[in-house]
């Protein structure tokens, strides 16, 4: 930790001294590298430890050598987690919910953001503020009433209810960023389309959506990550009769860690943790280029 804290000041001082600028610059760059690699290790360290532990048996975990390699790399802990601890089912539930709700969020969010960013109509500002003020409220605030509302309309413990809630809670952030993004796009092409007689809906889907692609991709990733990470909302919503078949991955993990205390199935827990990270790695691998481009573009605004 200390390396990182020191480096900026050292680099600044050494780079600022006039004589021997070249050597100093080299040192500064070298220090930057060292600091960043050290930091990356601190960042990734806990994850590596989990990966190692996920291949170990219970006895090995408790042996007291956290960084020792496991005796054999067997996937039996993963098989255990997948079938015995029902992680497989929860995994599929999670993927299902996140895919649909992210798609829904992006569609509804993009439509609303487009309108708010590009059209002048009475009430525009009021609606915009209504949307983005949702950003200011921590989720837990609305948990109790949300529970009763869903119970009232019979959506408690159903995927439909959860998906709708996910969409509603992701919309403020989505609209906030996408509205800024749509505003930054050029107006000429849209005007040309209007002259050519394109309808509003067609302009939106065939012209604005493709132009906003990088912004859409980065917010999509953001929503996938955010919704995949949800824990509190599913705990409240996925309750009631029959809900135990519909738990999500994060709930499954919480369940293992509670029951692991008695059955001592810690290796299963670590395998489940790795299984949770895996899809995000895949998403990242697929969208790596767009994430970089999108984040940059999103930041320009």
């Amino acid at each position: 930790m200390t390396t990182i804290a020191k480096t900026p000041s050292t680099t600044a001082r050494s780079a600022g001294r006039p004589p021997e600028p070249k050597r100093d610059l080299k040192i500064a760059t070298g220090l930057s590298h060292v600091a960043l690699v050290a930091w990356a290790l601190i960042t990734a360290g806990p994850l590596l430890w989990v990966l190692l532990a996920s291949f170990k048996s219970n006895t090995e975990i408790f042996l007291g050598k956290p960084f020792a390699l496991p005796n054999e790399f067997s996937f039996s802990t993963y098989a255990n987690a997948w079938s015995d601890a029902h992680i497989g089912r929860y995994f599929i539930n999670s993927v299902f919910v996140v895919v649909i709700s992210t798609a829904g969020t992006m569609l509804l969010g993009a439509m609303a953001a487009y309108v708010l960013a590009r059209y002048k109509f009475p009430g525009n500002r009021a609606i915009y503020y209504l949307f983005v003020s949702g950003l200011a409220f921590p989720t837990f605030m609305a948990l109790a009433p949300l529970f009763y509302i869903l119970k009232g309309i019979g959506l408690l413990g159903s995927f439909t209810g959860l998906i709708l809630v996910y969409i509603a809670y992701s919309l403020p952030f989505t609209i906030f960023f996408l509205a800024a993004f749509f505003k930054s796009l050029p107006y000429e092409i849209e005007e040309a389309a209007t002259v050519d007689g394109a309808s509003h809906v067609r302009k939106f889907f065939q012209i604005m959506m493709p132009m906003a692609r990088s912004g859409l991709v980065s917010i999509t990733i953001f929503n996938i990550v955010g919704q995949w990470n949800q824990y509190l909302l599913p705990v409240v919503i996925m309750s009631g009769p029959g809900a135990d078949q519909k738990l999500l991955l994060t709930q499954g993990i919480a369940q293992i860690s509670v029951s692991a205390g008695y059955q001592a199935e810690w290796s299963t827990l670590f395998a489940a943790l790795v299984l949770t990270i895996l899809p995000m790695i895949i998403v990242y691998a697929i969208f790596q280029r767009q994430i970089q481009a999108g984040l940059t573009a999103g930041a320009v605004k």
């Binding site: 590298h33 509003h200 493709p210 995000m280």
Partner: protein, 329 residues
């Protein structure tokens, strides 16, 4: 892209065509002008309905609930709970425990956001100096942490700080002359909170660093070169060029971090095994325990309402700024 280009490219080449379109009289533009009044609303409507129903209405209900006295009995029988006016609020505000929770939450938010933003900015600045390969490595490492569910991250930290088998005790114990075997991190609240803060900062930095790094690419190189030629020290360049340009972005991410960290729930909850001791309660966990643990639903709601008001009171200026930046007029 061809879809995007075609209308624009077609227009100048084919002026007769667009005139033909206009020729059949006023019917078409008129229909469109009527449509343009409705379509914006139609496009925004689904999002509006969802937010109003699932975010707006619960908040209104929460406010209403805080003026009633909903206990388990009313909940089970479905009767309308009695109205009690400001009773819940006076109860909460007169409670010393509540104020200590407020103080703790504010202090935690301040410290954690300060550390995260400083580190995030520092890492973003360092990333500009290193080679492509290292930068890519950094981004990948950070993406992993960013993509980690809070619950999972909290579980990992709980295990690392476990008193019997935790890797942190194991490593500290290796230091000469230090005995950290079976050391419990959550007996002393300062140590416990430093574990929670480390977890939140560790998980929060990637978002900040990646966003700020993207923002740094917008700082014009010529400006920095000119400053160097004029003899500006790196510190001066940072203060007078980079920070002013980056200011709107820093403000947005800082405000978001404050909002997120102020609502700290999962991390404290998991690290304390679902039963946070009084010294590890934040406003979020406190409200939740009162409402669901003690079945004092109205009291919990009142705490939640006060939390929102507190946050808005402190943040209103920044939140307004953030919205204005987001508007880019």
């Amino acid at each position: 892209m061809s879809v995007v280009d075609s209308p624009a490219t077609r227009r100048p080449n084919d002026p007769g065509r667009s005139q033909q379109h206009r020729a059949p009289g006023h019917a078409k533009p008129k229909r469109r002008s009527r449509e343009s009044g409705r379509t914006p609303w139609l496009l925004a409507l689904p999002a509006l309905v969802l937010i109003a129903g699932l975010l707006g209405y619960p908040l209104v209900r929460m406010v209403v609930l805080s003026f009633q006295n909903m206990r388990l009995r009313e909940l089970l029988s479905g009767r309308t709970p009695p109205w009690v006016g400001f009773d819940q609020y006076t109860k909460v505000l007169g409670d010393g425990v509540f104020w200590s929770v407020v103080g703790r939450t504010v202090a935690f938010t301040f410290v954690s956001v300060l550390i995260s933003v400083l580190f995030g900015l520092g890492i973003a600045l360092l990333m500009r100096r290193v080679s492509r390969g290292v930068r890519l490595f950094m981004v990948v490492a950070m993406m992993f942490v960013w993509a980690l569910p809070q619950l999972v991250a909290a579980q990992i930290f709980r295990w690392m700080t476990d008193s019997d088998f935790g890797v942190v005790n194991y490593l500290i114990d290796k230091l000469p002359g230090v005995d950290y075997q079976n050391h419990s991190w959550f007996v002393n609240p300062w140590q416990g909170w430093s574990v929670i803060t480390t977890l939140v900062v560790w998980a929060g930095i990637p978002f900040l660093a990646i966003t700020l790094n993207a923002g740094l690419t917008q700082v014009p190189k010529e400006l920095l070169e000119a400053a160097t030629v004029d003899g500006a020290t790196p510190w001066q360049a940072l203060r007078n060029i980079i920070l002013p340009i980056l200011k709107p972005l820093i403000m947005i991410v800082t405000t978001l971090s404050v909002i997120w960290n102020f609502g700290l729930f999962t991390q404290a909850w998991v690290l304390r095994d679902g039963h946070p001791e009084p010294q590890f309660q934040t406003l979020a966990t406190y409200s939740y325990t009162q409402a669901f643990g003690q079945s004092r639903y109205s009291l919990g709601s009142a705490i939640a309402v006060i939390t929102v008001l507190l946050m808005l009171g402190v943040m209103i200026f920044y939140i307004r700024q953030m919205f204005r930046i987001g508007e880019v007029d």
